[in-house]
Symmetry: none
Subunit: 238 residues, 2 copies
């Protein structure tokens, strides 16, 4: 269960974008704690774009306190641009986002908490979360806009925790086609190399190239046809 | 050198956010190709927030074509929500963002290209980039708002590359060699393809293969020589 908690949100553009992101990354609940705006306004709907149905899916819930929103949660992290690297203020000691994601993997129910656009989260609010998380960014201006911080956190969580994405489902090239391609590569290398050593280098480099890159079936199909035609043309000639 | 390229941008809110993100993630250039809005409007400035000085830092540049914006770039990736998992359309075959970041690590100069809010990038624009990248997200609604796609891509690149150790980079000479190899690949594909579409697929698949695999200097050398000799042999013949 993945939950996004926004505390005291002040901007309708941001809330609209966050609703859209919750649909983009298949978030189970968007908890809105003490909003300073009308959560269902036209502006929110406009920036939610095709994610607007998420707003009326029952997954957007309003709370009066951060504790209420975190009641059923296994692990929670606050996000903050203001972190501490030197002093002994434990409250402001943060871990990197990718480390949080690794930790969160072993929990069934995860919440990430985001503060106000203007002043973030209070010390008391930060103390309600299990961890404080930092998003790697330029130390000279680390302050991300709220909805962009949400985007980055959700992407990291989705990638690691939610199920496989579209591109991973691209079918892998099959062994046999690769072997056919390798035979033609040998023939081509032989046809243009000056000596045995160069033949070996040409052939090896090209064959390794094929194995290093992740290729789909369609791609290997085109490559094999391309290489075969080159070979036919060159071998007919010599 | 990290460059963000936005093509035909239509929204001032988005552009303002992207300017801010370029400061958040220490981007070296924001290339704005054929904008449909006033790049320096009050709305852009408002959403750039404290990143507004980036707009007047000389790092935001306007171009008329995507080619011009990519002239000095070692490796480029287009982003698209519309990718292909089943058919044979190689142009729409994408790799995952984190895999692109690993590949990009070995280049000194990297560009990421983002399309219009309404219709993304044209097929021709996609073909100008070395690779096509996909951001892992909910297959039921994978279409991210433009500035959120930028945020996620910049975060991944920043995390891995900006803070990264000085691993072996492909130097300028090697980048030039790869570009020469690409010209010969075009010529070879033209020589053996049955029609324009097959020419496009042959050429695109092979060129992307070159960019997907991490290659050493020596390997690039052998590959370029091999491809050049094949081209010389075949072109002499026809």
């Amino acid at each position: 269960m993945l939950k996004v908690v926004v505390v005291g949100i002040e901007g309708e553009v941001n809330l609209g974008f966050i609703v859209r992101l919750c649909k983009n990354f298949d978030v189970d609940e968007l908890a809105v704690v003490s909003p300073q705006i009308n959560v269902f306004s036209d502006e929110v709907k406009r920036f939610a774009a095709n994610g607007v149905d998420y707003l009326f899916s029952g997954k957007v819930r309003i709370y009066q306190s951060i504790e209420d929103s975190l009641k059923d949660v296994g692990i929670s992290a606050c996000t903050s641009a203001v972190i501490d690297t030197r002093s002994g203020d434990v409250l402001r000691k943060a871990i990197e986002l990718q480390d949080f994601v690794k930790i969160a993997q072993s929990y069934t129910s995860i919440a990430v908490v985001f503060g106000r656009e203007s002043v973030g989260l209070t010390r008391e609010e930060i103390s309600k979360c299990n961890l404080l998380v930092h998003i790697a960014s330029n130390p000279e201006y680390p302050v991300l806009n709220l909805s962009h911080a949400v985007a980055i956190v959700l992407y990291e969580l989705y990638k690691t925790i939610k199920k496989a994405s579209l591109a991973e489902k691209i079918d892998k090239a099959d062994e046999d086609s690769l072997k056919i391609a390798e035979k033609y590569i040998d023939a081509l290398a032989k046809a243009v190399a000056s000596d045995d050593r160069q033949y070996e280098m040409f052939s090896l480099t090209f064959k390794r190239l094929l194995r290093k890159a992740p290729l789909s079936k369609a791609e290997i199909g085109f490559l094999v046809t391309f290489i075969r035609r080159l070979a036919n043309k060159i071998l007919r000639q010599s």
